[in-house]
Symmetry: C2
Subunit: 670 residues, 2 copies
């Protein structure tokens, strides 16, 4: 016989295998994301050689906790197992899977098979007693006593076989014994996996973007933070819970852009808020024309009273007048002619902006300073940051900065404003951004919308990328909005607010249906607030404010809309009609939304609902209650007719009520 080889695996008796866990992002390199109070469902392939039963446990703990907690995993079929746990604390949780060959369960299964076949059982009962004895030896005093008593009955030849087999089936004792399976024969999946737990607003939020300098009550006046505060009730009434302000820092004077991005400006032109820094200060200062830090604190406090959080813009770039340029020239790229390199994407030039040179020797000091900017505003009470163009700064910076912030303030939310290639956007989400802007503004047809939103809902992407859907931004006035009129604005609002648990609008341009572009074929607003003051007639009778109020109210009343997990598309026989549903996991709340994507014509057709996905019985009536118009429809089966006239209402948002048995029962739901 050969001697054992030196290259043997550490314990060749570990028979169980754990494969393909989920969620698992880039082999465990990045955490999945959940919000407080959600359940994390974990799956894995678990199996062993041969025919024995296996058992599997989900282990989990908050990063700061020393001990693992356990949840059982159950087989889903085809060797896939699932378990879950509630994440009830902010921060990073760790989890993994433990599995082993379950000798006790295998033994009992075989015992019953033998009994069924009328085979002798004495030897098998003795074997069971041995297995239980082995568990007792690993158990504490009390459990060991109960297990030894059980083993004695199993082994007792003076009892009838029937009585002993009945004892073998004692469920509670079996469970007790299984808790003491040999720990040396358990396998634990490696590496540890992680889930980053954020607060609910990371998952469900309604954003409103507004330029404070255009918030003045009277036309021609320069708006201040105080004027902005005066608009808070207007924003709160519409139902928004995040108010995002473009940068409020001092604006550079050198190379300042004029109206409509003109290369020159005069003294009255306010300049772009993203050209940050002047002699009045930089990223930790407030533009004196907007107000003081005290004004900002007051605005923050008043917003909080109204249920609104302020989101601050983080744009890591400088105007030529930023104090950093003088104090830290080493953070900027010097050109061969001695000048500092301004931003450009040749042939386009942005001479009012100096980017940081992240390749500089002093990158460590630069990173530290940038982190201190975020930390400064956290110190002032800000808890949400909208990050401008994160894709033009190093990935490693964001991963480090976000982790550093979260270690002290896990409630801080980051939104990535990266409109770039998909893999770059997804990478930023992996690095820690809570939410991400998307291509939504440019997805208009049914195939585009259903395809894109379905992609975003596909794991592993859906485990780390949280879309925030914006029909417009100060940079994006889509062709659809330019030419679709009021129905286009309504349709895009309904889409954003019901497809996305998080969405936002740039107002008052949105509710006032601002739709004139600066250039034909372009997406820039004419007379954009980015370069000049505007005065908005918010009280205009055709404003969409009331409609927005209704939509946000529906979002608040319906948990189905507060998560993207339950999104599902349904077929229609008319390409202009997009139909989708959202439902909570318990199916208590289910909404079906149908949008006419054609802003110019009535469109009608047959809906083909996936009844099984909606938890509906094809044999029973159900009620579809339009939360926008108040209309109620009594439907049965998957095929139902819809007609949507954009001049009246381009969408149905239907609440589905189950268990309508007869037309008489229907009355109870009115």
């Amino acid at each position: 016989m050969n001697a054992p080889a030196a290259d043997l695996p550490l314990d060749g008796r570990l028979r169980v295998v754990i494969e393909n866990p989920s969620p698992c992002i880039d082999a465990g390199r990045f955490p999945a994301k959940r919000t407080l109070g959600e359940q994390l469902l974990v799956q894995a392939d678990v199996f062993a050689d041969g025919h024995d039963a296996v058992a599997s446990l989900l282990l989990y703990r908050h990063e700061s906790a020393a001990d693992w907690q356990c949840a059982p995993m159950s087989p889903l079929g085809n060797d896939r197992w699932q378990g879950g746990f509630l994440v009830q604390r902010l921060g990073r949780w760790l989890y993994t899977i433990e599995a082993w060959v379950d000798e006790l369960l295998s033994w009992r299964r075989q015992l019953l098979a033998r009994q069924g076949a009328g085979q002798p059982l004495a030897v098998e009962l003795l074997r069971g007693a041995q297995l239980v004895e082995a568990c007792a030896a690993r158990a504490g005093h009390e459990a060991a006593g109960r297990l030894r008593d059980w083993a004695r009955v199993l082994a007792d030849a003076s009892l009838g076989a029937e009585q002993r087999v009945a004892a073998a089936q004692e469920q509670a004792l079996l469970q007790l014994a299984r808790g003491y399976a040999d720990p040396a024969l358990r396998r634990r999946f490696e590496p540890l996996l992680a889930v980053q737990v954020e607060r609910e607003r990371a998952r469900y939020s309604s954003w409103y973007e507004m330029f404070p300098r255009s918030a003045a009550a009277a036309a021609g006046q320069r708006g201040t933070l105080a004027d902005c505060e005066a608009q808070l009730p207007y924003v709160a009434r519409m139902g928004f819970d995040v108010l995002y302000l473009p940068p409020i820092h001092p604006i550079g004077r050198s190379e300042r852009r004029g109206p409509n991005n003109r290369p020159s400006s005069d003294a009255a032109d306010p300049g772009s808020p993203w050209a940050i820094g002047s002699s009045a200060g930089g990223h930790k200062s407030i533009d004196p024309q907007l107000g003081t830090l005290a004004d900002f604190q007051h605005l923050l406090a008043r917003a909080g009273e109204l249920g609104i959080e302020l989101a601050m813009d983080i744009a890591f770039q400088c105007s030529p007048d930023h104090p950093y340029v003088r104090e830290h020239p080493e953070w900027f790229l010097k050109r061969a002619d001695g000048s500092i390199q301004y931003a450009e994407n040749p042939p386009k030039k942005y001479p009012d902006i100096y980017p940081f040179d992240f390749g500089c020797e002093a990158w460590r000091e630069l990173w530290a300073e940038l982190a201190s900017i975020v930390e400064y505003w956290i110190g002032q009470g800000v808890r949400i940051f909208r990050v401008d163009n994160p894709h033009t700064k190093p990935f490693a910076l964001w991963e480090w900065l976000i982790a550093r912030v979260r270690a002290r303030a896990p409630e801080v939310i980051f939104l990535a404003e990266a409109f770039t290639r998909p893999k770059v956007m997804y990478r930023l989400a992996k690095l820690g951004f809570s939410q991400s802007y998307t291509y939504f503004a440019w997805r208009n047809t049914r195939a585009e919308l259903a395809g894109y939103l379905s992609e975003l809902r596909t794991p592993p992407l859906s485990d780390f990328f949280r879309p925030n859907l914006w029909p417009n931004t100060p940079d994006i006035l889509s062709e659809y909005l330019q030419f679709g009129g009021r129905p286009a604005f309504i349709a895009r609002l309904v889409l954003a607010a019901t497809l996305g648990a998080s969405y936002g609008i740039y107002g008052p341009a949105f509710e006032l249906m601002e739709h004139e572009a600066r250039d034909p074929g372009g997406e820039e607003y004419r007379d954009s607030e980015k370069y000049q003051l505007r005065h908005w007639p918010r009280e205009r009778p055709d404003s969409l404010a009331d409609f927005i109020t209704r939509i946000n109210q529906i979002r608040r009343e319906h948990p189905a809309l507060q998560s993207d997990a339950g999104l599902r598309f349904h077929a229609t026989d008319n390409d202009a009609l997009l139909a989708y549903s959202k439902g909570t996991a318990d199916a208590d709340d289910t909404l079906v939304t149908i949008v006419n994507l054609d802003p110019h014509h009535e469109q009608s057709g047959w809906l083909q609902l996936d009844l099984a996905a909606l938890g509906l019985d094809s044999a029973r009536l159900f009620q579809a209650h339009d939360l926008l118009s108040g209309a109620r429809f009594l439907w049965q089966g998957p095929r139902n007719y819809v007609a949507l006239d954009p001049a009246v209402a381009p969408a149905h948002v239907l609440r589905i009520r189950r268990h309508v048995r007869t037309e008489r029962d229907f009355d109870y739901f009115l």
Copy 2:
């Protein structure tokens, strides 16, 4: 300003990211598989922040080589990059991806953009000269000189801008300079990935299974290895290149099964070859009734002369009479009554088989002994092993044993006979088995066949699981073969041999269309060779031997059939017609096979070929030449009519010839 934090990443200036490489199995835990002379195409997502160009290299080396070789990677679009290398040596190769921000390429791209926009270029030319100087400082003497000369021209203000921009576009100098990019700013993907390179027969093989004891020339005689040798020309004529023999070891006497698996036997019954071991020896011995080791050597040598390799059966189990039972009782499970546990899957019992107890304390010695069995037969010249029921032995055993064998003999091929749950079968393939039995025998409808084969062709599965398709085995006489008559045998042969680069039949039962089952509804052969001697009238006029010869000849002549990489299914408007193509990567060899899956009736219908996939121009004629009947069809476009009468021929195997311009040109192909 804040001081740099202690938690900064090692080098925050590494801007490039490498994600999602392929092939990559279980995050790099297992190697992909290729065969000698194939190209390994490696892909990955490679990108950086911002707008700069990135560059990417594929690094690879044979495990035994010290230095990396490099191959360029090119962008495929959407940030996906691809490179490849030929694997020209058996064993394990390692590979990874290196990437960096390509400053030189970015600079030149921007320079040309500026030039196009008529912007000043002087400063940019100076910057280019600086970048080239930096490369020169990292280069060897000769290259440094050329680069410095180039930098001088770029920086030379006395030259015209046009001349300097022309110099900037010198492709050879740019490539030279790019080779000296700062190594400190390169990222290398981790962990290292691996590909296991086997010989061609691991990918392309034609197996014939035969019981030597039924090889006697005369009825009633017990066949020997010498009789088996006499059948080699018959096997070679049919075109098989692997002859697989069920175990040839001594067979136990205790509990020996009689004909048709009867629990009792008499002296003349030979017993199951899988009940290994008697007083005559165990796994390293040859059944004296079959012959001697010298006979085996002679058989092996003669087979080699005919281009046939012997595949030996490895069944790690013992009869009660095996010497191991006496010499190593510690390797078997002792029951509570002192008896040794025989194999069972309650309520089924196999008292003639003792399984090893892989959970025993002496598992290390057991593994060493089992490895020595394989090594013993390798010592005798065997290079292919068909492993019986690997899924009832520990996974870790196979990974260790196969790696150990391959370290010394990388040409050894292992076929896994695991008919069990899919994830278990796939795990065995990951662990190192070269080929695997499949569910093919039970996939009969078009949807079943196309669905299953497509699953097997989907990465990552296709990177490590090589199917070996068997229409029958001594354990599997499918219902389709029991009741489909001669057309069923022909159809299943064509399917196995043209869907699978590796396939096998159990003969002569197959070519003689043996189709009677032992039990109604069962899949065991009546009077199975597993339990009794058989005599086969190989010369019977209705034998399929000639048809099999033709099929194997087509396989030899067509590289398209020697790999599974090019398999693609095509639509037909008749569910009974399965159509698929196989083509080489260079599209030089393309075959379209159409099989009538209904063995009882003629079926006809319209084929809808995917012309783009076949590399065919829809505007031009092409010839479809049936390699079975010799018929030639002149086709154009995707829709073509086919009719297959199973009584005549249930399949077309069409060679596609391109570039047929006119009916007259067609003649040239005759």
